[in-house]
């Protein structure tokens, strides 16, 4: 007997929708999420410190999702970090999670992993300094706290979050000193054609640009941050024009801009720790954010009873995520033999149509070949263990070409974040030396825990007297 029919990991746009669909059909489900409230990244809830604030499209959609979850009476455990996923002897999935300092184990017949994405930031010298935060990270800070990271903020990187972040700072009343955009105006014009599928969102984007233009914020198109200067925190930023490959050309125009904060990001990577640990097959496709779990339209992975929905199965974006959640729930219900079969053609078509917008935005963030050339030898690649590009290159040049070999040789990716911020960059550097493709380089081996666990939770409360010490052998 399993504790649940289905466990959904992640209460974002995809996971919440999956949980509701499965509950409606009569499945016994559990929804786990490590955040304090449902909503995931795009519909992140405001912190309890905000009593009231102007509504935004994100807060409206998020509040609706949270109230729908309550209406459906879904068993949703918040602050629950899934750290372990494995098959037990009864062929059931065993899920371990940490909740308020305690470890719990639950079993289920099927899993939907809807773990979303995480930010990719390609480091340069100084990007580890306090005051430098991710671009997507900044949106989380705004949504949750209506707080800006400084008095004079530079916003840098690519894709829609760049413009959204600059707009949000202005909306909240902060100051943006400059926008440094890898994308050119032409890139944006081309992307907007693909974005025609969602005229409402395209219009919203246009209003962001309008606000930025009205505030006379300088935009440096086809430019990148090449170095961040500061002793104890960021003081200024060096920028340079880039070539068509996104490499800061030596003849390109250079500038130094003073700022006390920088929001910098270069797209999203699917969050694959959970599906990797469950041993599903993953594939690499730059147009979907890099390594992601391989699924069909219904989120079926190649592991029986394991489904994936949302950005962890490719960055199709927030619009497609609820459809992907619903489709994964339908497939999981079929596997569980719960409910009746339904015609899904329309739903698949809707998902594909919604995905077009997401794919167009993801396309703006596909890293070009020259991007990694902007990362200096002194740049810190692994933040946790403070490993520089120079150290990585020395290790790779000495023959360490697999991610596991690089990890054990340099400690890059061995820190508490689990390599979530450095593995991708380490592989890009590896490519420049080994000449291998990302597929040939592959991924590091996945081992539990996929989230850091406090020793106290593992050890639990014990008395030394309680330790089972076997009687000494007779002399």
């Amino acid at each position: 007997m399993s504790d649940f029919d289905l466990i959904v990991i992640g209460a974002g746009a995809a996971g919440s929708r999956a949980a509701m669909e499965a509950t409606k059909a009569g499945a016994k489900i559990l929804l786990l999420d490590e955040q304090a409230e449902a909503g995931g990244q795009v519909w992140r809830a405001k912190s309890p410190s905000i009593i009231s604030a102007p509504k935004t499209p994100e807060t409206i959609a998020g509040d609706k999702l949270r109230s729908d979850l309550k209406l459906e009476n879904i068993l949703h455990i918040v602050n629950a970090r899934v750290w372990q996923i494995e098959k037990n002897n009864d062929d059931l999935w065993n899920i371990g999670y940490l909740n308020n300092g305690h470890l719990h184990n639950v079993t289920c017949k099927a899993i939907i992993a809807a773990t979303g994405a995480q930010e990719r930031v390609i480091p340069v010298t100084g990007s580890q300094l306090p005051g430098v935060i991710g671009l997507a990270a900044a949106t989380a800070l705004f949504k949750q706290h209506l707080t800006t990271p400084g008095k004079q903020t530079i916003v840098a990187g690519c894709g829609p979050l760049l413009i959204f972040t600059a707009y949000e700072i202005l909306r909240l009343g902060g100051k943006v000193c400059a926008i440094i955009s890898l994308n050119s105006k032409t890139n944006w014009a081309k992307a907007s054609i693909d974005m025609m599928t969602r005229p409402d969102l395209l219009w919203r984007g246009a209003t962001w640009f309008a606000k930025i233009t009205a505030a006379r914020i300088p935009i440096y198109w086809q430019s990148t941050v090449t170095e961040i200067i500061g002793e104890t925190h960021i003081e200024s930023v060096n920028i340079s024009a880039i070539d068509a490959n996104w490499s800061a050309t030596s003849h390109g125009q250079k500038n130094n801009i003073k700022a006390d904060s920088l929001c910098m990001g270069h797209g999203l990577n699917p969050a694959i720790e959970a599906t990797k640990l469950a041993d599903a097959t993953h594939i690499y496709s730059p147009e979907l954010g890099g390594w992601h779990v391989k699924t069909d339209d219904f989120g079926r992975t190649d592991k029986a009873g394991l489904y994936a929905a949302g950005d962890n199965a490719g960055i199709y974006g927030a619009g497609a995520a609820p459809y992907r959640g619903k489709l994964a729930a339908i497939a999981a219900l079929q596997f569980l033999n719960i409910g009746k079969t339904q015609n899904t053609d329309k739903l698949v078509a809707k998902m594909k149509s919604a995905a077009k917008f997401g794919l167009a935005t993801t396309k703006l963030t596909i890293l070009r070949k020259g991007m990694i050339e902007n990362t200096q030898q002194t740049a810190i690649i692994c933040r946790c263990e403070a490993v520089s590009r120079q150290q990585l290159e020395a290790e790779i040049s000495s023959g360490a070409h697999s991610p596991n070999a690089i990890k054990s040789g340099t400690r890059c990716g061995m820190g508490p974040c689990g390599g979530r911020y450095c593995n991708d960059v380490a592989a890009l550097i590896n490519q420049t030396i080994s000449g291998k493709t990302r597929q040939q380089i592959g991924l590091t081996t996945s081992r539990p825990p996929i989230r850091p666990l406090p020793i106290s939770a593992i050890a639990q409360n014990f008395d030394y007297d309680d330790l089972p010490i076997p009687a000494p052998a007779p002399l």
């Binding site: 912190s47 309890p48 909240l172 508490p416």
Partner: protein
């Protein structure tokens, strides 16, 4: 340098409460994350790496581990902890220095 809690006319925040960081008392809004409470007070360095370089909050979603502090005795990401009255917050480095000062050789 510090973070700014924006105060647009329609934004209403919870009451202020006091907490301590490395022995000094500060105030912040009840329920905001400890990271924001500290950064709004000008404390943006959350840890010092083994090679002496300062780090601050980076991801604001509990993943990067740069903001891990000792909060009421628990080693935890400050961006994931809601501020409450009387919270005792310490940086890991400060704790090590304290233990060394007490003569603990094992730190």
């Amino acid at each position: 340098m510090r973070f700014f809690r924006q105060t647009g006319s329609k934004i209403k925040r919870s009451q202020l409460v006091e907490f301590s960081f490395n022995g000094t008392t500060y105030s912040g809004h009840l329920g905001e994350s400890v990271t924001v409470a500290l950064a709004a007070n000008g404390i943006i360095t959350t840890r010092i790496t083994h090679d002496g370089s300062p780090r601050g909050a980076f991801c604001f979603m509990g993943s990067c581990q740069e903001c891990v502090l000792l909060i009421d005795g628990l080693r935890i990401e400050a961006c994931q902890v809601a501020l409450s009255e009387g919270l005792i917050v310490q940086s890991i480095g400060c704790l090590i220095a304290e233990q060394k000062a007490k003569g603990d050789e094992n730190v």
